[in-house]
């Protein structure tokens, strides 16, 4: 299997996850992957296809169908010096593991006063727009980003996936690594060759602009970039920031942009109430209130339990590029 490219390669998001995991297994014998159907099936998105044959069942573990112990066992491995990469098959299935993530992994270093650490990565596909109905569409970041001791990453481009997944695997603390399903095969991009990391907690300006700052992450970033390009044709200059990391979060990049454009729109697919946008808005008001020329606007998923299976219900939940363009236009003109 020749997955590690020798020069920059164009790949999809799902290929970037696969190739980064492959390289980690190849180069660090402490790493192993455990989760449901990651072995012979090669993961439900075929991310680990062929890994079982190459790395063996000791490193590619088809676990019993029990999410709490997938994370719990990985915590024990991490405390004993391994670098486990646990997979929750869909983010919607992570709830049984909530205690292990929030109560155990995030507190291991703290409660032992540094005697033990928990260098663990939990990867999970999240997000909607893929006909996933109630239990294969959810966004979970707001449930976890409140938790000190945990780090959360949600990249949207293949090159960022590689750098951030490498950083997550090498990080000495537990990292929840979120992969938006709708970007798995719809997003392609250049991925630099060789090993590199991108520091956790650093956002990136994906499109520079002067009149409005848009902060987003995941699938929405791609839509926001489309909308911003469309509005450029109407003569508007919009800056789009991809958060990439949700905890820690990059205050420096957000504030520098807002102080320049003086307007902020936060976009996320996750429900609005108590979501990531609430924290960003509060931070900007605390730090840069007098730099603002317009009220902060949040364009987010609705506050309902889930998106429905019917296409009408799903698209009503998801934020369309048109709605993003409308919100951007209104704010620029405010």
């Amino acid at each position: 299997m020749a997955l590690a490219p020798s020069a920059a390669t164009t790949m999809t998001n799902v290929e970037a996850v696969r190739s980064t995991l492959y390289d980690a297994l190849k180069h660090d014998p402490r790493t192993l992957i455990l989760g449901e159907d990651v072995g012979a099936r090669g993961n439900v998105f075929l991310i680990t296809k062929g890994f079982l044959e190459e790395f063996g069942p000791e490193r590619i573990l088809d676990t019993p169908l029990a999410e709490a112990s997938i994370v719990g066992v990985a915590i024990g491995m991490a405390m004993e010096g391994l670098r486990p990469i646990a997979e929750i098959q869909f983010a919607d299935f992570i709830y049984p593991a909530f205690n292990q993530i929030v109560g155990e992994a995030a507190k291991t270093r703290y409660r032992s006063n540094g005697d033990y650490t928990c260098p663990l990565v939990i990867r999970t596909p999240y997000g909607g727009g893929v006909h996933g109905a109630l239990s294969h569409s959810v966004s979970i970041e707001a449930l976890f980003y409140h938790v000190p001791g945990l780090k959360i990453v949600a990249p949207s481009f293949p090159a960022d996936i590689k750098g951030l997944l490498n950083a997550a695997i090498e990080d000495p603390d537990p990292v929840l690594f979120l992969e938006h399903k709708k970007t798995y095969r719809s997003v392609k991009g250049e991925v630099p060759a060789g090993h590199y990391t991108i520091p956790l907690g650093r956002a990136e300006v994906k499109r520079p602009g002067e009149e409005l700052t848009v902060v987003s992450y995941g699938y929405n970033v791609h839509q926001a970039l489309d909308a911003a390009a469309r509005l450029a044709d109407e003569g508007m200059s919009i800056e789009v920031i991809d958060l990439r990391s949700i905890r820690p979060m990059d205050r420096t990049t957000i504030l520098a942009s807002v102080r320049k454009t003086r307007k902020l729109l936060v976009i996320h697919e996750d429900s609005k109430f108590g979501g990531v946008g609430a924290e960003i808005s509060a931070m900007v008001v605390e730090e840069a209130f007098f730099d603002l020329d317009a009220p902060i606007r949040r364009l987010c998923g609705p506050d309902v339990p889930a998106m429905g299976y019917a296409p009408t219900l799903e698209s009503e939940f998801m934020i369309s590029t048109e709605r993003m363009a409308d919100a951007m236009r209104e704010l620029v003109k405010f």
Partner: protein
């Protein structure tokens, strides 16, 4: 597996007088520290204590079977004798009660929530059965690295076996034939809920059958029975024989914690009935019968333990609390700030 080995016919299990006396002293030390915790609480010197009275036979039996420097212990919060037996110092137990800066958790954890990597004791929380999957992961790491001669000892109470995570953990270990021993300290009470409300079976060891591993039930007030069963189970695990479940029945003599009042849910008569089987006097009588110790030496041992605990209590009480700034340390490696 261990039915035969739990037979009380083995009088001293091949243990030397010195080992037997160590067991008695460790039991006395655990009991004295337990009492000290409750006394300090009633004196208003510490806000909370939890005791293991009645569990000491299990603790020292299992501790002697534990291989220091090789095995890993994943305990729960009613394991003071086991912790002392595998390497926690009485000073550390008191530092945890007093929540002093010198405590292994830096004064963060409740008393009896051990962490001591240098002795192979994993960090635990208070969440029932949450540590069981960590124990399984640690056992997996040993097997993955082909570390022969090591095993994990994972302990928990009867209530823990109601938790889904307990079942997930035993199953995972069984599927992978991991080097781990699950030791249930069945004291009949989960705070105020009796075993009969937790499960419809009398012996928790029966649960092992559902996972294809051996299970054994024994009298946890008999420290030598516990030693023999846990030793056999650990040796089996270290030798690649896979996991097993040892159920040691005992009785919780004290309320759940200093914040509990067991008069609201159980009778004094029931406690007295079980106190008649107190593992410590029972072990003391056994040692006297075996000639491993004499009456004078027992009295001297008790005086010595009390003097040690008294001296340490004064010493630890005089130590400082953690500085407020310690609150911000060890959230992550580096800064605790959520914003960069």
């Amino acid at each position: 597996m261990a039915k035969a080995m739990s037979a009380p016919a083995i009088e001293r299990c091949g243990l030397s007088d010195e080992q037997l006396r160590w067991m008695l002293r460790t039991m006395l030390l655990a009991r004295t520290l337990d009492n000290r915790g409750f006394q300090l609480n009633r004196q208003g010197k510490i806000p909370f204590a939890t005791g293991s009275e009645g569990h000491e036979g299990i603790h020292v039996g299992a501790a002697l079977a534990f291989r220091r420097g090789a095995d890993v212990l994943v305990p729960y919060y009613r394991d003071i004798g086991l912790a002392l037996g595998v390497g926690v110092e009485p000073f550390e137990a008191l530092a945890s009660m007093f929540a002093r800066a010198a405590d292994n958790s830096g004064g963060r954890q409740f008393p009896n929530h051990w962490t001591k990597k240098s002795s192979g004791i994993l960090s635990i929380s208070s969440i029932i059965a949450a540590q069981c999957s960590h124990a399984v992961g640690a056992a997996y790491a040993m097997r993955y690295r082909k570390e022969e001669g090591r095993a994990v000892l994972c302990t928990f109470g009867d209530g823990a076996t109601s938790e889904g995570e307990w079942h997930e953990s035993v199953n995972f270990a069984a599927v992978h034939k991991l080097p781990i021993v699950f030791l249930c300290e069945n004291n009949e009470w989960a705070i105020s809920t009796p075993r009969s409300h937790q499960m419809a079976i009398a012996d928790i060891s029966e649960k092992a059958g559902g996972y294809g591993i051996p299970g054994v039930t024994l009298d946890g007030a008999n420290a030598l029975d516990v030693y023999a069963a846990v030793k056999a189970a650990l040796e089996r695990a270290r030798g690649g024989g896979g996991p097993s479940l040892v159920e040691a029945k005992c009785y919780r003599f004290l309320s759940h914690t200093t914040d509990d009042d067991d008069r609201t849910y159980r009778t004094r008569a029931e406690i007295e009935r079980h106190r008649a089987q107190d593992p410590i006097p029972r072990f003391e009588r056994l040692l006297l019968a075996l000639g491993a110790i004499d009456e004078d030496a027992v009295a001297e041992m008790k005086r010595g333990v009390l003097a040690e605990v008294n001296e340490l209590t004064d010493r630890v009480e005089a130590l400082p609390y953690p500085a407020p700034a310690e609150l911000y340390r060890n959230v992550y490696e580096g800064s605790h700030e959520p914003w960069l």
